[in-house]
Amino acid sequence: MLITCPYCGPRDVSEFAYQGDGNRTRPDPASTDPEAWNAYVYDRLNPAGLHNEIWQHAGGCRAHLAVVRDTLTHEISSVRFAREHGAPAHGRRKPGAKA
């Protein structure tokens, strides 16, 4: 699997570290709502198809990347710096929503 880093170009997946589901929205740190935190920590869509993910190019430029990967084929349809436009819009879900 190759991920095309916006800075470094195409690199082997072994240079990247998976940082988790890119659909999650972290609750306000001051929040004591257990449902919101439960959803943030545990609830995942687990789609068969396109999936928003956060990866870090840990063995390269060390930038965090927002990646859209197809979980059936591993095809990467988009990569961008995670910091540039916030979380990707694709498949975004509300906290607490069930899959």
Partner: protein, 195 residues
């Protein structure tokens, strides 16, 4: 000035090694620059940082990822967004940047004692490096002066192309001896000279 010691010293054996009967494929050497400095720009300050690198070293950096240049004395290249590695044959580079890379522009990290710089040169340089790193080392994909960050078995490595068939590799000093031995093993089949 303190006496500089090389971490490669116990395994550094000048001369020809490996399969060199038909000629030496690569030459391996330690560059030992006097200073190695990492500079990082805050978001939006990259152009100012590049201009500052130019004013201190005289090196002109083009726009774009991995941009780099070198002279007799200095080298510089981008290895990450807004981040540059700069080396100087002389000591004191961090001091030269202090006050010029202001707190509003970015940060200076003196890595002079934290990195070991190794040069691999010769007709088989691309061949040997391609065994270690999953990166395209062809001149068209990796132009002279430009730089990259990559990894071999968790040994983080920054590489600058210093010539048509020559590359400078910067590795963590604590990993340098192990990396050097591996580089020698990788060079064995093409014949290598240490100097």
């Amino acid at each position: 000035m303190v006496e500089q010691l090389s971490p490669l010293e116990p395994v550094f054996r000048p001369g020809s090694h490996g399969n060199f009967v038909d000629g030496v494929g690569v030459t391996l050497s330690e560059i030992a620059p006097g200073s190695i400095v990492q500079l990082a720009a805050w978001p939006g300050e990259e152009k100012k940082l590049m201009a500052t690198i130019g004013s201190v070293t005289g090196l002109k950096l083009a726009d774009g990822a991995g941009t780099g240049a070198s002279s007799e004395r200095y080298t510089a290249f981008g290895f990450a967004p807004g981040k540059f590695l700069v080396s100087d044959a002389s000591e004191g580079l961090a001091t030269a940047f202090a006050g010029k890379v202001t707190a509003a522009i970015g940060t200076i990290t003196d890595l002079s004692h934290g990195r070991t710089a190794i040069r691999i040169g010769g007709p088989k340089s691309e061949w040997v490096l391609a065994k270690l790193f999953a990166v395209d080392f062809a001149l068209a994909a990796f132009p002279q002066g430009s730089g990259i960050s990559t990894t071999h078995h968790d040994v983080f490595t920054q590489i600058q192309r210093s010539g048509p068939d020559s590359f400078d590799l910067y590795v963590f000093r604590s990993f340098a001896r192990s990396f050097w031995k591996m580089l020698c093993h990788a060079s064995d089949e093409v014949g290598y000279e240490v100097r």
